[in-house]
């Protein structure tokens, strides 16, 4: 079997083959390492390739199999991590030259859970500096490049992780999402991304950005794989004060059940204000697919959405500035221009404005949750535009030209504010061959329902089966 075929197995398929002995963890890991060596120069997805650690882990996984000890569906599966997750004895750079010598002394909770589940951690991924930015253009390490067109951005900040998954350089990846970072890149790169409910996955050992918004998320090539990885990660962690006291559950349990009678709302406000025409068409088509599958799709009015940007920007920037204040004070010159600009602006936010926005957020979240009493899910575009070129500043949009970097994360922020789970899955391609994603959002802790609907849409289409030309 060609190594590239191995690298494009789904997690579920690779897992089945590992279990029946037709593929070995060592073979699978080796194929990925060879593909990374061949392609990483083109997509710049990896900052650190953990070749020796990964091969050692694969050999351990193989030995365990020989002893009849299979840890579960992730046993022997190569998974990569955005370079904000600590892995013991490996550098966590956060995409910044200020942290390039920071070697982790312990595993993050998420990395530890992956190891317990038998996964092979294969490397650390490129990202927007300090995980704050929508493109993964990084002045210190170069940009992550979109595997569908390497002259275009991946989206951010989990851009390297998404490029790696899309290009077959790992089977799944962990990212973090403060304003859309595990949904925007998957939409722009044609894969699946899930931001679970705030508190679902422990954040211990993960570099923070904004404490009331940050969520660990999963990127994979299809919905079932996303659910399998979430199964390994979800669960209460007493070391993380923001961790939800929720029992673990099987997030694959509703996959394949269909969506007959499910109520899906398409918000009237906000989400289509700046949407590119091709994006809007693809999203409306996805809604029709859902209808054909038996869902009841209807418009829903949520006027509070009009205040999304007014509330969310101040909260994110203020919390980021609070975290990164020592960096700004001690070594501002070591920061990239865009991140420094945000941090300096954040230093000027008054306590009054921050509190005002948090109070407004309570109102906003109540309004959003009230709308969710009328529907099981919301369906929206993930990004209003497809992947812009690196040299593209303004892009055409319905309401006139917009700054591409400004609008990329606009549509994902509502669900960081509310903490609701939200996923992006492919729903089409532009005439230029660029992926488009739909975003589905559910009530808190209803990931299983969210994945059920995303899976139904995926099974009725074949967008997720396309491979990038890289």
């Amino acid at each position: 079997m060609a190594p590239s075929e191995l690298c494009y197995f789904t997690v579920a398929e690779a897992s089945r083959r590992i279990a029946d002995g037709s593929v070995s963890p060592v073979e699978l890991t080796k194929a990925h390492l060879e593909r990374i060596a061949a392609l990483n120069g083109r997509v710049n997805a990896y900052l650190t390739v953990m070749e020796h650690e990964a091969m050692a882990a694969a050999r351990r996984a193989e030995k365990a199999l020989r002893q009849g000890k299979r840890a579960g569906p992730l046993h022997g599966i190569p998974i990569g991590l955005k370079d904000v997750f600590d892995v013991k004895s490996v550098v966590t750079s956060s995409g910044s030259k200020l942290y390039r010598d920071h070697t982790a002394t312990a595993d993050s909770a998420a990395a530890a859970r992956l190891k317990t589940a038998g996964a092979v951690i294969i490397g650390k991924h490129q990202l927007h500096e300090l995980a704050f930015g929508p493109t993964s253009e990084n002045p210190h390490t170069g940009p992550a490049r979109n595997p569908w067109d390497t002259e275009r951005v991946t989206g951010g900040s989990s851009g390297g992780s998404t490029a790696a998954v899309a290009a077959g350089l790992c089977m799944a990846a962990l990212g973090t999402d403060t304003g859309g970072s595990v949904r925007v890149p998957p939409a722009l790169c044609g894969v699946a991304g899930l931001k679970p409910t705030f508190g679902r996955i422990s954040r211990v050992g993960v570099q923070p950005v904004a404490f009331s918004l940050d969520t660990v998320g999963v990127i994979a090539r299809n919905v079932k794989d996303t659910a399998l990885v979430l199964n390994a990660l979800a669960g209460h962690d007493s070391s993380d004060p923001s961790s939800a006291r929720r029992p673990s559950e099987d997030f694959t349990r509703l996959l394949g059940r269909g969506i007959e009678g499910m109520r899906i709302g398409i918000p009237k406000e906000f989400f289509f204000d700046v949407a590119d025409r091709e994006v809007e068409r693809a999203v409306r088509q996805a809604a029709k697919v859902m209808e054909v599958l038996g869902a009841v799709v209807d418009e829903v009015s949520i006027p509070a959405l009009e205040r999304t940007l007014d509330i969310s920007t101040t909260i994110a920037v203020a919390e980021f500035a609070e975290f990164a204040r020592p960096i700004l004070q001690r070594c501002a010159a070591g920061l990239g221009g865009d991140v420094r600009e945000v941090l300096e602006a954040g230093m000027g936010i008054s306590a009054i404005d921050y509190i005002r926005c948090q109070q407004a957020r309570s109102w906003y979240n109540r309004e959003l949750l009230a709308a969710m009493r009328r529907c099981d899910l919301l369906l929206t575009p993930t990004s209003p535009i497809p992947a812009p070129r690196f040299d593209e500043v303004m892009v055409p949009a319905k309401a006139g030209p917009r700054n591409a970097r400004d609008v990329l994360s606009w549509l994902t922020r509502p669900f960081n504010m509310s903490g609701m789970p939200a996923a992006s899955v492919p729903c089409g391609f532009t005439k230029r061959g660029l992926p488009i994603g739909i975003q589905l959002a559910a009530r808190p802790f209803r990931e299983a329902t969210l994945l059920q609907a995303a899976h139904a849409h995926e099974q009725a289409t074949d967008w997720h089966k396309r491979r990038p030309p890289v």
Binding site: R307, T314, A332, Q359, R361, S362, Y364, N365, G419
Partner: protein, 57 residues
């Protein structure tokens, strides 16, 4: 944007980050302007300040 708002944003930045980069001031103004757009219909004075997390209510 009102003069008061502009002054507030500029004063804060001059005091806190005297060697600021070029784009910081317009962004600070935008943030102040956004917060100012929230009125009594969005902000209740009796509201607990932190809108989230409700992970463990």
């Amino acid at each position: 944007m009102s003069d008061g708002l502009r002054l507030r944003a500029e004063l804060a930045l001059v005091v806190l980050t005297p060697r600021r980069v070029e784009g910081a001031l317009p962004l600070a103004r935008l943030l102040a302007e956004q917060a100012d757009r929230l009125d009594a219909s969005h902000v209740r004075q009796s509201e607990p300040a932190i809108g989230f997390p409700p992970a463990n209510p």
